[in-house]
């Protein structure tokens, strides 16, 4: 177990190093000049040159990367071009809202996906199955900004059930979490359905039924625990999917997380913030995958770590 953990951690560090190289490289491939954006419209070429030197952008790219990496390992993400303040505390202050939103979305997708999947599996081929799967198809294919604005219009503006965006109360969380989690819910309902159908074909299920166990207990006790395994592994991967989703959802709902920060930084070409958010998001994706790998054997002793 420990050896496996060490191996995975080493791989994670390598992945993060790769991410840092790619994000750093990308910022040089964008055909835009941050110095022009900082210096403003009435700057002289001399002023622009001065700023270039101050930011160290006149140095060769490998040297710039080495400096960047040197700062990165000490947790220093640099200074924002637009705000002139440090990026690390800025990203840190925006992380809790995003993590809360992702937690809400995970709860939402499980609460939608698992019951729908089980329901469809037990009514395989019948109307309930087809209806559930059609809905899941719809939820997977609806763009999040459309879904978010529709939910806001109906539940917040017309019916007053929830506030129109904002942050701070549990009532603020429900609509954005639903928007972020609905697609995943649709996805999980399909996975749960097929997983459950497969599990219910097993001999031990037939044995359980033969013992005279009620169908509910057969499905929940013997079926559920085995059918949910592939889904648990997926939850860790969701972190990665959500990290891109939060950019849209946070902007629609006014949720003050890193997705919103990222969107604004992209608009103003605030490269240190863009890179900072990317690295932090990558850390969470790697962490999510790691947790998924570690949790599976705890639920299913048949899986062995190597």
């Amino acid at each position: 177990m420990l050896r496996y953990l060490a191996k995975r951690l080493a791989a994670s560090v390598l992945i993060l190093l790769g991410v840092s190289i790619v994000t750093f490289g990308l910022t040089f491939m964008i055909p835009a000049d941050p110095v022009t954006m900082i210096a403003g419209r009435n700057s002289t070429p001399q002023m622009r040159e001065q700023i270039r030197v101050q930011l160290g952008l006149d140095k060769p790219i490998p040297e710039q990367y080495a400096r960047y990496l040197g700062r990165l390992v000490t947790g220093d993400l640099g200074i924002s071009y637009a705000r002139k303040s440090e990026v690390a505390p800025l990203v840190a202050s925006r992380l809790p809202p995003t993590l809360l939103l992702m937690l809400g979305a995970i709860i939402a997708e499980l609460m939608i996906g698992l019951p729908a999947g089980i329901y469809a599996a037990t009514r395989r081929g019948r109307f309930g199955d087809k209806a559930a799967m059609t809905l899941s198809f719809l939820s997977v294919s609806t763009p999040q900004f459309v879904l978010g604005l529709t939910l806001l219009y109906l539940f917040a503006y017309l019916w007053n059930w929830f506030p129109l965006g904002g942050y701070g109360k549990i009532s603020n969380l429900i609509l954005p979490a639903l928007t972020l989690g609905l697609a995943g819910g649709g996805w999980y309902s399909r996975m749960m359905r097929s997983s459950m159908i497969e599990v219910l074909r097993n001999d031990y299920i037939r044995t359980a039924r033969a013992k005279g166990m009620s169908e509910w207990r057969v499905v929940m006790k013997h079926g559920f625990r085995n059918a949910i395994l592939p889904i648990v592994a997926m939850i860790g991967l969701d972190v990665g999917i959500f990290m891109s989703g939060v950019v849209v959802v946070e902007n629609v709902f006014g949720w003050p997380g890193i997705g919103q920060l990222m969107w604004q930084a992209i608009q103003s070409l605030d490269i240190p913030v863009i890179m900072g958010v990317t690295i932090v998001a990558a850390c969470f994706i790697v962490l999510g995958n790691l947790i998924a790998d570690l949790v599976s054997p705890l639920i299913d002793p048949r899986i062995r770590l190597r």
Binding site: M47, S85, Q260
Partner: protein, 538 residues
Amino acid sequence: MKKLLFSAVAALTLMAAAPLAMADAPKQGGQAIITFNNDLTTLDPQVGYDWQNWSVIKSIFDGLMDYKPGTTELEPDLAESYTVSDDGLTYTFTLRDGVKFHNGRPMTSSDVKYSFERAVNPATQSPGGGYFGMIAGYDDVAGGKATTLSGIETPDDKTVIFKLTRPDATFLHLMAINFGYVVPKEEVEKAGADWGKNPVGTGAFKFVEWVPGQSIKLERNKDYYKPNTPYLDAITFEFGQDPTVAVLRLKKGEIDIVGDGIPPAQFAELTADPANKDLIVVGDQLQTGYVTMNVTQPPFDNIKVRQAVNMAINKDRIVRLINNRAAPANQPLPPAMPGYNPDNKGFAYDPEGAKKLLAEAGVGEINTELYVMNVDPNPRIAQAIQQDLAAVGIKAEIRSLAQAEVIAAGGSGKAPMVWSGGMAWIADFPDPANFYYGILGCAGAVEGGWNWSRYCNKALDERAAKADSMVKDDQKDARISEWKAIFDDVTKEAAWAPVFNEKRFTYHSDRLGGDPALFTDPIHIPVNYDYIYAKDAQ
């Protein structure tokens, strides 16, 4: 007799109106909530340079000069009075008594000097430091050789003397620009990198709190030097509010102003609703949307081709395309700008004439590129321009990119044509000079500059410099007519195709009151926070 009667009536009306006006002075109290999609970047007056933080900074800080609310007319602010020497090279400001920073310390002349030095010092990375290039000693400070401006003297606490290296008629405007706003040194140094998040000024509102990504709260500065000002007790800016959602919230009475303006998709519906008649205020803005043509490369090095482009674009159709949120433009200067020439009709829409000019130019088939920012409605506008150009035989491929990439393409001279929408020149101060040097003069026609046409006419530059050396009060009219003449010539040279002047539509709640001009203030966007009032406090 008739005339006499009229003046008697006028006098009576005036007398009646005067006490009424006094009684009508709004009472202080109440509050306003303004929404923005994006969080503010900074409240550092020497650094902040986007339309959003620009007017919030104006409410927290003051400069030596300011504009009468709702107008473009200069008046002294922190300065009580000023004198200009005959050669226009020395400006002496006498500071007002009783001005205190929000931390309680009285503001003095050394604060003024410090603030300008901070703007020019390269360590500040101010996007506006370059505006103060006429102050003696600028080159040393900007070049990092000194930290104090030799051209600013402070003989006593109440007097600031500026020595200039060249007379500059825009100098008083520059004394009203955010980059010269007065900041207290001790607070700047105490806050360090966090100064932009903890501003301390002398202005009408005092900074209370900034919750990143969520809100900024300001409260009325009870020690503000202007009596009975501002009217609101508190202003809250809420961020992360999609304008579409903000409109719904305003309808529900939760917020007071949609800071980002009315979203295009809801514009027709909201403006058609009679309930909004008094809530949507329309005004001019010091803005022109234009197409630049790079004059250093074929085919646009040929003036006939540039003129043909001007004649080919159907501006009325483009204005209709954006729901009449603008008026067709005929010259670089917007109508609200001094120096705008109502007699300059520019180039009328004339596709046949354009074809003829192109034939005369004899440049053969034209294939070019039109760069545009990829945010609605700009790509749609670019498509309309593309169709108009195709109709006269110019094939323009659209390059729809992120803002920073379009700016880079324009600044490097790579883009043959740029549609300026979304990055357009909104004046920093209401003077024609501000529409010339950076975007049409030689100074901006360099690598990384903002003169994307690369149009550089030395003779016009000289005339501009000469116009700006007319600094005396009795030369004002002569100076403006010279600027008019300069822009008439710029129009004929057709380095740009001016397309429209955007109007501003401010949507506010019924709770807020004030002169409509305050809601479309040409200097403060979206509104002049200092003079609007809450109806529920009256």
